[in-house]
């Protein structure tokens, strides 16, 4: 990646500059690995902290030293300040990089570090405090002449007060935790009822995530874009803006796809936003890397949303287009060095896209967490201009304790089109087995005409998929390609199963055939196909149309690189059974097919239908997590849509509701239980 390599160029210059000897990274996963990488380049020794379940995690292996700071739950390990302070003392680390999340915006932690004379690689405590409080931050922003959202204010005591405030502001309103960053604990209410519900959820989430249940209600700007400005400031009053990141593609207020620059900003708006961001940073005497988030409406009016006083998840795309290594800059600044660059030094070179690859089921509300062991894992790193920031490897477990992010997949190109093409290729070549992942959704977003044209907002997903995400919708041509591939793969596998090696006592008499008549099922559609083969090339005839498929047909490889009708395509074979079931990942989505010989297909009409379970009267956990509350008991009558219980997973609380009006037959869970995906929760009559 050219841009990223040039960042390495800066490092070489700086290598001689003395910073720290040893840094402790108070985080886990990809961001810990990301920080360690830069430390290594800078010749700084690293200390990882980890929970007991993370003891063989990648960040632990990468670091020079590692200290276990407690058991799996985050409040006992990664949020356990005492244990982390001990780890610092024990290892003699001079500075701490907090990454994002966990203690990154915790002023107590920053204070304790300061008291021990340990550098916090981030802003000073007062900036964290000022910007960490949503109300205070807006007052400061107003004073610094930063555009702020109209009609907001108030810390909320109870649900009725929430309703009253909402009424004053006028619907829609947004309710969120005062202390929280990102989308966590944020709910949107369109009426009094939803305000009460939003208040209850947000206060619970705020309490469990931040130990601070204060809430904030403000005017919700309908259909906005979420664009943020990366700033970088030193301890000498200098500050720069490193251009914007477009983060409008979100689900449940969490970012999914980000890009830099934004297609929407013109140079004037960009400068205006950048300058306001810098003036806010200066107003709070900000130092280190920070992000000022704005909501931008369709008329390019922008409003200050909040400032994140830490490194952002999506920082790599800024690094790609500016050539800076933000972690390195943060370390330098923490050491007290002045900024090396002037505003005029900051370029926009090319275009970078980031896809957040999550262990999530995108077919359930655009992504409900899934867990499991990565039985096979292969990043598309052999492609040029692809950067993958990950903290896991083949064999890693994605557990219920932590964020389900697998990696950040970043592609870069001279133009947006180039970066997007590369993203398609990278997603197709990304092998993830053992957990459900959101590549189907990512792959759809980046080719959607609205996204490609830049016509996006934070409502993109619900607008484009009003009935929920259903996977890629095949065109007739694509359907033929898929059917042909399945048929060719089937024949290739059949032929191989007749190849026996060695001296055989009884000769093998393979069925001689150059023509196959097959029946392929896909989504209840049944197709008769004629397949003929010459070498590795298969010609498949479907409904009078011919499809040519050729490739190496390596049946052991996770990837299936093929040429279909002259076009290069990479598919993945996820499943191939003896009974003819073939699951192919094609254009990101996995499709279940069944290939049968003509004979088997004609006989299958006699096979008995297996009756599937009636799911409307059974409530199963849609994801692994823990039960927070059960609202019903056996014998209760519930209405359709009534809440039955609440499951918390990865810090998100999910309300489980009744699919029909019925009487509760039995309850199989209680508050505090840990449940797996598909576990029976409640049975209705």
């Amino acid at each position: 990646m050219a841009a990223y390599r040039s960042a390495a160029g800066f490092q070489r210059v700086l290598h001689a500059v003395k910073t720290f000897d040893k840094i402790l990274i108070a985080n886990r996963g990809e961001i810990a690995c990301r920080v360690i990488k830069t430390c290594k380049k800078m010749g700084i020794k690293t200390v990882a902290v980890h929970s007991d379940v993370d003891s063989s995690a990648v960040h632990v292996k990468m670091a020079d030293e590692a200290v276990c700071v407690g058991p799996a739950p985050t409040n006992k390990s990664y949020l356990n300040m005492d244990a982390i302070m001990n780890a610092i003392k024990q290892t003699g680390a001079q500075a701490v990089h907090p990454g994002y999340g966990f203690l990154s915006e915790n002023k107590q932690f920053a204070k304790r570090l300061a008291a021990e004379g340990v550098s916090f690689i981030g802003p000073d405590t007062h900036a964290i405090q000022a910007m960490g409080d949503k109300i205070e931050s807006k007052l400061i922003a107003k004073a610094a002449k930063v555009n702020t959202i109209p009609g907001f204010d108030g810390v909320v005591k109870d649900a009725e007060e929430a309703v009253k405030i909402a009424g004053e502001i006028g619907y829609p309103v947004m309710i969120k935790a005062s202390a929280g960053g990102g989308g966590k604990g944020m709910r949107i209410a369109w009426n009094d009822e939803e305000t009460r519900e939003g208040f209850r959820f947000s206060s619970q989430e705020a309490a469990s995530s931040f130990g601070d249940d204060r809430l904030l209600i403000e005017k919700f700007i309908d259909n906005p874009r979420h664009i943020e400005i990366q700033v970088l400031a030193d301890k000498h009053g200098n500050a720069l803006w490193l251009n914007e990141r477009e983060c409008s593609i979100q689900r449940r207020n969490q970012k999914v796809v980000e890009e830099a620059p934004s297609t929407f900003l013109d140079p004037d708006t960009r400068r205006a936003m950048g300058e306001q961001a810098v003036s806010l940073a200066k107003a709070v005497k900000y130092s280190s890397a920070g992000t000022v988030e704005f909501l931008v409406d369709s008329k390019k009016n922008f409003y200050f949303l909040e400032m994140n006083t830490r490194l952002q998840v999506e920082h790599p795309i800024t690094e790609c287009i500016t050539g800076l290594d933000l972690v390195q800059q943060m370390i330098r600044i923490a050491m007290g060095y002045k900024l090396q660059h002037k505003q005029s030094d900051i370029p926009i070179n090319g275009w970078a896209i980031e896809s957040r690859v999550y262990a999530e089921d995108p077919y359930k509300s655009f992504g409900l967490p899934s867990i499991g062991r990565l039985s096979q894992y292969q990043e598309p790193l052999d492609l040029r201009n692809v950067r993958v920031d990950s903290g896991i490897e083949e064999g890693s477990d994605i557990s219920i304790y932590y964020d389900p992010m697998i990696s950040k997949l970043v592609t870069y190109g001279k133009t947006r089109e180039e970066a997007l093409k590369k993203m398609e290729e990278a997603l197709d070549n990304y092998v993830i087995r053992g957990v459900t992942h959101n590549i189907p959704l990512l792959r759809e977003i980046i080719v959607h005409p609205r996204f490609v044209s830049g016509d996006i907002s934070t409502k993109f997903l619900p607008e484009v998929y009003p009935d929920g995400f259903k996977g890629h919708m095949l065109t007739a041509g694509e359907r033929r390609e898929l059917l042909a591939t399945a048929a060719a793969l089937y024949v290739a596998a059949q032929l191989r199963s007749q190849k026996f090696l060695g001296d055989l006592r009884v000769s093998v008499v393979p069925a001689e055939s150059r023509q196959w008549e097959l029946c392929v099922e896909l989504d209840k559609g049944v197709h008769m196909l004629g397949v003929s083969r010459s070498g590795n090339n298969y010609t498949v005839e479907i409904d009078g149309e011919k499809v040519e498929v050729s490739g190496e047909w390596n049946l052991a490889s996770a990837l299936l690189p093929l040429t279909i009708n002259g076009k290069h395509r990479t598919l993945q074979c996820l499943l191939r059974t003896a009974a003819g079931e073939i699951t192919l990942q094609y254009l990101g989505t996995s499709f279940k097919l069944r290939v049968l010989s003509k004979l088997a297909a004609s006989l299958s009409k006699h096979m008995p239908e297996k009756v599937p379970e009636d799911t409307s009267s059974i409530l199963r956990s849609p994801m692994p997590g823990s039960v927070v509350a059960v609202s019903v008991k056996p014998g209760d009558n519930v209405a359709e849509g009534q809440e039955i219980c609440v499951i918390e997973a990865m810090k998100m609380q999910n309300s489980m509701t009744a699919a029909k009006a019925a009487k509760v037959k039995s309850v199989h869970c209680k508050a505090g239980d840990t449940v797996g995906e598909g576990d029976l929760l409640v049975e209705l009559e």
């Binding site: 003891s55 063989s56 003896a578 003819g580």
Partner: protein, 556 residues
């Protein structure tokens, strides 16, 4: 062996009769003529106004339609395929060579001698064919003819192909769908069963025998599948029991359905009678084709080697972190198996029975291997009665048919308790020990974590002639876990925690076994596949024989 000789002498004739049911036109007429003359002499036909040629055509047509269209429709309605449809799916296209299409039952009681009660071929279709090009002998019981009941002629047909399979050295697959004995024939039917049982026993260890239960199989009939190497079932449409629900009700007053008494679920999870169950006929037959590829044709053939695309030296990085640090925490042994074998393809035998041991077939660099592994996920992977018997039978099959055995060990010991002791864990545990000890095929063992106590010895240890025994760095070879050991060694003494730590330091690692040569090497888990592939190449020429004996005496 009267039948045997008789059969041999008529073999020449029979060869002339072979025919694929797809190509009725290509009959070798000369042979057919000779045969029909014999038939003509033997019996007077009412259709004698027809020419011999016409009669052949007519008989053949009748044979191909079995019990007639009505009964075929009824069979289909039950969700079952006909005997011939099943063979067509099981075997390669146009490869079936049918025997005894003109055989008819010889019963003359109860009106059975009437022409409309004669079905050419009777209630079973027999012959040989190919699965992926490899030879197999098959019989497929035809439920549309007298409910697939077993007549003397039916048994004789099965015996004929079994005898030939043994002579040629090729497996026998039976597709069972039979209501039971042909009651009209009485003792002749019983004799037929016994003739088959005898052949099942004689063929045992000579050629692989597989039974696929695709309908009812009750009474004495169940003992033929029970004697074969593998019994598979079709879910919802197949049953195996000694006596049906009605008899059960009258004898023990139990109310039980066919499905509960002898359905696929019962036999694959509770009784351990069947080795796998499949969704329906098509699913079962296609899976059987796949399974067949793992098996050698006979005990004279080496384990088959197929073309393999999975690199033999592939590293499996995920294995380095699979064993949890806490020795009490479980992991899935199947993850290890899938990671190591070719293309993650593992044909598990008895996946839902005695799940604390995992057995099944896979390939390493194309060559079939048998995999045995303790499953820490279930009952900590301990050995109990059921898992010992399951493992033992599998190991003996592999040994009989030249299939190398790879054993993954993580075993905390034998399961304690009165249930196990009263059930005879000593006797049954000895079976697994016996099986591993007597096996002379290449034996490779990988200790992934615990190898405690007698169970360590049992699990293909060096002492039982393991050829290559590896330990992962997480291996702990010891008499027992640290806590138990310390409680015995330091009984009543204080400072048990310190003693426990010392014990862990001393024994909870691979060194005590490695310094004594009980493991050949301590290997990085990610290199396991590479090492095993290389060892199998070397061990391919292994020759080892046990002392001469009439037969061994395994503790049954």
């Amino acid at each position: 062996m009267a039948t045997y000789t008789l059969m041999r002498s008529s073999l020449g004739l029979l060869h002339g009769l072979k025919c694929s049911f797809k190509s009725v036109g290509q009959i070798p007429y000369a042979g057919a003529l000779t045969r029909s003359k014999v038939l003509q002499n033997a019996r007077c036909y009412s259709v004698s106004h027809l020419s011999v040629q016409e009669r052949i055509e007519q008989k053949r047509k009748a044979a191909l339609t079995g019990g007639g269209q009505l009964r075929i429709a009824a069979q289909h309605k039950r969700g079952k395929l006909t005997a011939r449809e099943r063979l067509e799916l099981l075997l390669d296209p146009d490869s079936f060579v049918e025997y005894d299409m003109f055989v008819e039952h010889r019963c003359s009681d109860f009106g059975m001698e009437a022409d409309h009660n004669k079905y050419p071929g009777d209630s079973v279709v027999t012959g040989q064919g190919r699965i992926n090009g490899r030879l197999v002998y098959v019989f497929s019981q035809d439920f549309t003819v007298f409910g697939g009941s077993l007549s003397g002629a039916h048994a004789q047909k099965i015996c004929k192909i079994m005898d030939q399979a043994m002579m040629v050295g090729a497996p026998v697959i039976g597709l069972n769908d039979s209501g039971g004995a042909r009651i009209q024939e009485g003792v002749e039917s019983l004799a037929g069963y016994a003739d088959i049982f005898l052949r099942n026993v004689m063929a045992s260890g000579v050629v692989p025998q597989i039974s696929l239960i695709m309908g009812p199989c009750a009474g004495g009939a169940v003992y033929s599948p029970a004697l074969t190497d593998f019994t598979f079932m079709v879910k919802d449409t197949s049953y195996l029991f000694i006596t049906g629900p009605d008899v059960v009700k009258s004898v023990t007053n139990e109310d039980v359905t066919q499905e509960e008494l002898g359905g696929a679920k019962t036999h694959t999870t509770v009784s351990g009678v069947a080795h796998r169950a499949f969704e329906n006929d098509i699913d079962a037959l296609l899976n059987l084709r796949n399974f067949f590829n793992f098996l050698p044709l006979s005990n004279k053939d080496p384990a088959p080697v197929t073309e393999c695309h999975d690199p033999r030296d592939r590293l499996v990085p995920g294995l380095d972190t699979i064993v949890p640090f806490e020795s009490t925490k479980a992991y899935d042994m199947l993850d290890i198996v899938h990671g190591i074998v070719d293309e993650r393809e593992f044909f598990e035998i008895m996946p839902n029975y005695a799940k604390n041991i995992v057995v099944g077939f896979a390939r390493m660099n194309g060559r079939t291997v048998g995999i045995v592994g303790n499953q820490p996920k279930v009952a900590s992977g301990c050995l109990d009665i059921n898992s010992s018997v399951k493992g033992a039978r599998f190991v003996r099959f592999c040994d009989a048919f030249n299939i190398p055995i790879i054993t993954f060990v993580d075993v905390p010991g034998f399961l304690p308790g009165t249930a196990q002791e009263y059930g005879g864990i000593i006797r049954h545990g000895a079976k697994l020990l016996y099986a591993f000890a007597e096996a002379t095929v290449p034996k490779i063992t990988v200790i992934t974590r615990k190898a405690y106590g007698g169970a360590y010895d049992v699990m293909s240890s060096k002492h039982l002639r393991g050829d290559v025994n590896y330990a992962w760095p997480s291996a702990e070879v010891a008499v027992m876990g640290a806590k138990g050991a310390v409680q015995i060694i330091f009984r009543g003494k204080e400072n048990q925690a310190k003693a426990e730590a010392e014990y862990v330091e001393k024994f909870a690692n691979p060194f005590p076994a490695a310094v004594r040569g009980f493991v050949d090497d301590i290997i990085q888990p990610s290199t396991t596949r590479k090492r095993i592939c290389r060892d199998l190449e070397v061990l391919a020429s292994k020759k080892q024989t046990n002392p001469w004996k009439k037969h061994a005496n395994i503790p049954l």
